[in-house]
Symmetry: C2
């Protein structure tokens, strides 16, 4: 029977195998301290009965759920439209592929706060947590640190004093790279469409960008705060080109925003990169499908996620909270700037 409702229990297996429940339990879990004969008998009984352990019963005693949560405090529309987020989730899935852990993706329901997320996590449904795309106001560091579960952030947490483990790319360096590249290409009337300033990645990229411009003695033509979406990138791109037609170089906070700017540029009759140089961020697949292809700064979501997941797995194995890992980005030059 595959029927979940009338499940066979360990008791049944033990009876059929002619051993005690304790021995059956040991055998089912791999055979530590079990004689070859008993092991084989149990194996046969499991096979014959189609036995599958009841995870609730097991969790109740082991206090382990074999489940790891990926928390993305964004609504599904964002989660499923941002290639960086997609890469990162894929990276977690990959890191978990050879473990018995299942990935559970937790995001915000449309228009809802995080108030469904936290009770779920507090409820003890998961053994560990990887967080990405966190914002200042969600106070996720504090809320999650208080759970005392193995935890890792992708992207610098906003409250460093909590010493939450994390992996990140050096976004200040990334912002610098964008500025230096546009300056080296001869652009002097520079503008940026940033990410949402309640996110550390957005803030850091702006910081590096501003520092590099200041050092070069160049003043920004304009700066707009975007939200890492294509639609907003297009809106702000259009506004930028209307209000500051003299602009000759744009740093878009991510590839999605850059793709929006590209649309706006086409609509405004601007030629990229001839009269407008454009640099994106994240170096995603998206940048290969635009025309022209996007010059972009690397932000290896898959790799970051793999490392963050390993951090969680290591803590689960009893290791102490690891120090942060910071990856240095590089600029990948393509046609847009």
């Amino acid at each position: 029977m595959d029927d979940v409702r009338s499940r066979t229990t360990l008791e049944d297996v033990a009876r059929v195998a002619g051993v005690s429940r304790a021995t059956a339990s040991r055998a089912v879990r791999g055979g530590e301290l079990v004689s070859p004969v008993a092991l084989e008998a149990v194996r046969r009984a499991v096979e014959q009965l189609g036995y599958v352990p009841n995870p609730a019963a097991r969790s109740l005693v082991t206090r382990q759920t074999d489940t790891l949560a990926v928390v993305v405090p964004e609504d599904d529309a964002r989660v499923f439209s941002d290639p960086f987020i997609a890469q990162a989730i894929g990276g977690v899935a990959e890191a978990l592929a050879h473990t018995p852990k299942q990935l559970v993706l937790l995001m915000r329901a449309r228009g809802q706060e995080n108030d469904r997320l936290l009770p779920y996590l507090r409820g003890g449904h998961v053994d560990g947590i990887v967080v990405l795309s966190h914002h200042r106001d969600d106070h996720l560091e504090r809320e999650l640190a208080a759970l005392h579960l193995p935890l890792a952030f992708i992207g610098r947490p906003l409250e460093p004093q909590l010493a939450v483990p994390y992996v990140d790319v050096d976004n200040v360096a990334g912002g610098r790279l964008a500025a230096e590249h546009l300056l080296a290409a001869g652009a002097r009337r520079l503008a940026t469409i940033s990410g949402p300033l309640d996110m550390p990645a957005a803030v850091d990229r702006i910081t590096g960008w501003s520092e590099a411009l200041a050092e070069a003695g160049v003043t920004e033509v304009a700066r707009y705060e975007g939200d890492f979406t294509l639609v907003r990138g297009e809106e702000l791109g259009a506004r930028l080109l209307a209000e500051h037609p003299e602009v000759d170089g744009v740093f878009a906070a991510n590839d999605l925003t850059a793709a929006g700017v590209l649309h706006a540029a086409r609509a405004a009759g601007r030629s990229v990169p001839r009269t407008l140089r454009l640099v994106g961020y994240d170096d995603t697949q998206l940048g290969l499908t635009t025309h022209p292809q996007l010059t972009s700064i690397t932000n290896p979501g898959r790799d970051l996620a793999r490392r963050a997941t390993r951090m969680v797995l290591d803590q689960l194995a009893g290791q102490p909270a690891p120090p942060p890992i910071i990856i240095t980005p590089v600029l990948v030059e393509r046609a847009s700037g």
Copy 2:
């Protein structure tokens, strides 16, 4: 304490509230058959202790997990790049937002089979299942029907005799719409880049397309089997334009494929829609961000998913398996064809 490790139990709550564990349990679950006084006392104790019920213990007796699975037998790269899949998952999330159920997304790990999925589902981790993007070879209908869990497919199942509940769009009608539209626009040298033919949606679209062409007495110039991805759409689009430059109308099996064809057309110096008319499928956001925007057939993923989820929820509430729901698509005309 928020600490998950040293959790307070119902026992503690009962003691502090001065009632029995049974009464505490009733009070915690909403107060049926509990006096106002006891209810209030328990409420206060819960508050004071920060009590959160242990889901494993609860599941063990109720045999409910308050979890609903969305099964997408594709690897993460596909799941996170196809806007139709994204919409559908969002629709499930939306339908669940006002229930106590959590959504668990189960996909295939890269390069793996479904052999991690099934044991998980069999293990009794979830109360119900919504499936989408199924293929012939995964035999998911049979495997999942054998679980006897509330179930619904988005998209016609491949084995109708199992009578699995499902919602679908009339893809045969959709294929017809594409053909009729291109013919009405005057295109006569028609080709299609289909979806993978192990998927019912792909097969049905081709069926409708072929029927309409046959009725009009028009013979296809070429047909290629794609896989619903942009990259493959671009490859096959390039091949089509090279091998059959006379083609003047293309039906791409989804918007992702159509976007790929658009790239190929640009690379080949073809002007859409002037010398090449193009119709996509799914009517996704993507079609609004291409240039020109895509004419497309509607495939309301969000709505389909909401309905499928409701089917599962209804079965969970004891209702019998519902009959299929079939939605009729329409063609949305934009600039591409």
